[in-house]
């Protein structure tokens, strides 16, 4: 079996699943930030296939979100908020989860990977916020603090929920999400 084609179809379907989960709001915060499980499929692909396929799946998810209708307020903002932010989630694959790990170890590794990748996504949204809101905000306003708080406000709950759900999934169907190459 040609592994390249299989990885391609998995990337495509994982991106579709992420876009689908993105539309199911677990809860909606005021001021637009909403929490969904959009990150979970990308994380799980990262644990299954490694960093590169997950980065591609993330970039695809972001691009599909643009094609389906996104809001663009600045040329750099649209790159950082969509393809780049989601592509960075693929870095959850820096941790390798293999069969020999105990349940507790798996959960710890997974949490480290997800926190690392979510921080990268936060960084991308943060920079984007500073750039585009800096264009529109009055000069005496602290854009850095505003962008950081706004993004933390929905990303932290989203990350926590993603960790909980991912731990559940990886313990229920471990064979799906363990790297096959080691």
């Amino acid at each position: 079996m040609n592994n390249r084609i299989r990885i391609m179809t998995e990337i495509a379907i994982i991106a579709a699943l992420a876009v689908l989960l993105n539309a199911i709001k677990v809860y909606e915060a005021p001021f637009g930030g909403s929490v969904s499980l959009v990150m979970v499929p990308i994380f799980l692909l990262a644990f299954r296939r490694g960093i590169v396929p997950a980065i591609i799946a993330g970039a695809l998810t972001g691009t599909i979100k643009i094609i389906l209708g996104a809001y663009i307020v600045h040329p750099v903002q649209f790159l950082l908020d969509y393809p780049v932010a989601f592509a960075l989630l693929g870095f959850a694959g820096i941790v390798k989860i293999n069969k020999n790990l105990s349940l507790k170890q798996k959960s710890i590794y997974l949490t480290i990977g997800i926190i690392f990748a979510s921080s990268l996504r936060l960084l991308s949204h943060f920079v984007s916020g500073v750039i585009w809101f800096g264009q529109y905000a009055p000069e005496n306003m602290n854009v850095y603090l505003y962008s950081l708080l706004y993004n933390l406000y929905y990303l932290v709950p989203e990350m926590i929920i993603s960790i909980i759900v991912s731990i559940f999934i990886i313990n229920k169907i471990p064979n799906f999400f363990i790297r096959e190459d080691n």
Partner: protein, 268 residues
């Protein structure tokens, strides 16, 4: 709750207006250049010209204005917030309005109008692209625009193919999720009410079957592709090929006129 009904994925509205019939490549390039034009403009007059151009576009597209309004809603609060910030903090220019402690100055108003126009134009032009072009056409357009990047070994064809597969499978997965949700509801699961941790735990009962079936689909698709001899983009042909027409030429002409107008206003 019927998932496929309450979840609207994509906003494409089919039609046969001038804008619908343009080549996806022209539309993508036009929107890209238009966004730069917006950032080149530095006066309210310039923005009014760009806005009236967009209003003409809305009328030509024959898509009800309510769809565009829906596109603005997500950033409505941001626009409102920015307006209030500028009105209350910008103390330059003449005092225009005073009521108790609220003082509004002319420059504050100018800034607020400037920013509102800019945000509105940017959001509406992006909406217009996604409302009048189907996701598949956009993917094909992107593939053909980015085609030269193949020379530097970027797998543009593979990326575009994965995007088409994704777009194709979103509705399938929505139906699937809907079925699973109903099955779990019949077993007594509750997704709409109750404390948030309970709802998250209940979501897992949907997500695990969804994941298993997604990977099964990916596997079946890979086998189907291989048995039909898929071997990458080299020499592959398409059923439908879009070509540039007089419409695209006209769009280029319109853009040149806009560019000259904006540049001459800037020079004033």
């Amino acid at each position: 709750m019927n998932l496929s009904q309450y979840m609207v994925i994509g906003r494409y509205i089919p039609g046969n207006s001038y804008i619908h019939l343009l080549d996806a490549r022209s539309k993508l390039i036009f929107v890209f250049l238009y966004i730069f034009l917006v950032f080149l403009t530095n006066s309210i007059l310039g923005y009014l010209i760009l806005l009236s151009f967009i209003i003409i576009g809305i009328l030509i597209s024959k898509i009800p204005i309510s769809y565009y309004v829906k596109g603005i809603m997500p950033i409505f609060l941001i626009i409102l917030f920015t307006i209030i910030l500028h009105l209350t903090t910008n103390k330059a220019g003449d005092l225009v309005f005073q009521w108790k402690w609220i003082e509004i100055y002319s420059q504050g108003i100018e800034q607020a109008v400037f920013i509102t126009l800019r945000l509105l134009i940017l959001v509406i032009i992006a909406s217009m692209l996604t409302l009048t072009t189907s996701p598949i056409d956009l993917t094909m357009g992107l593939e053909r625009i980015l085609n030269p990047l193949k020379r530097v070994n970027l797998p543009i064809h593979e990326l575009a193919l994965m995007m088409s597969i994704s777009l194709r499978f979103i509705p399938t997965l929505v139906d699937e999720a809907d079925k699973i949700m109903k099955a779990q509801k019949a077993r007594g699961a509750n997704f709409e009410t109750g404390p948030i941790h309970k709802r998250v735990i209940n979501m897992i009962a949907i997500i695990i079957p969804l994941f298993i079936s997604a990977f099964k689909r990916a596997d079946e698709l890979a086998i189907a592709m291989e048995s039909r001899g898929y071997r990458g983009g080299e020499g592959r042909t398409r059923l439908r090929v879009s070509v540039f027409t007089w419409r695209d030429l006209l769009l280029l002409l319109i853009f040149s006129v806009l560019l000259i107008t904006i540049l001459s206003i800037r020079g004033l």
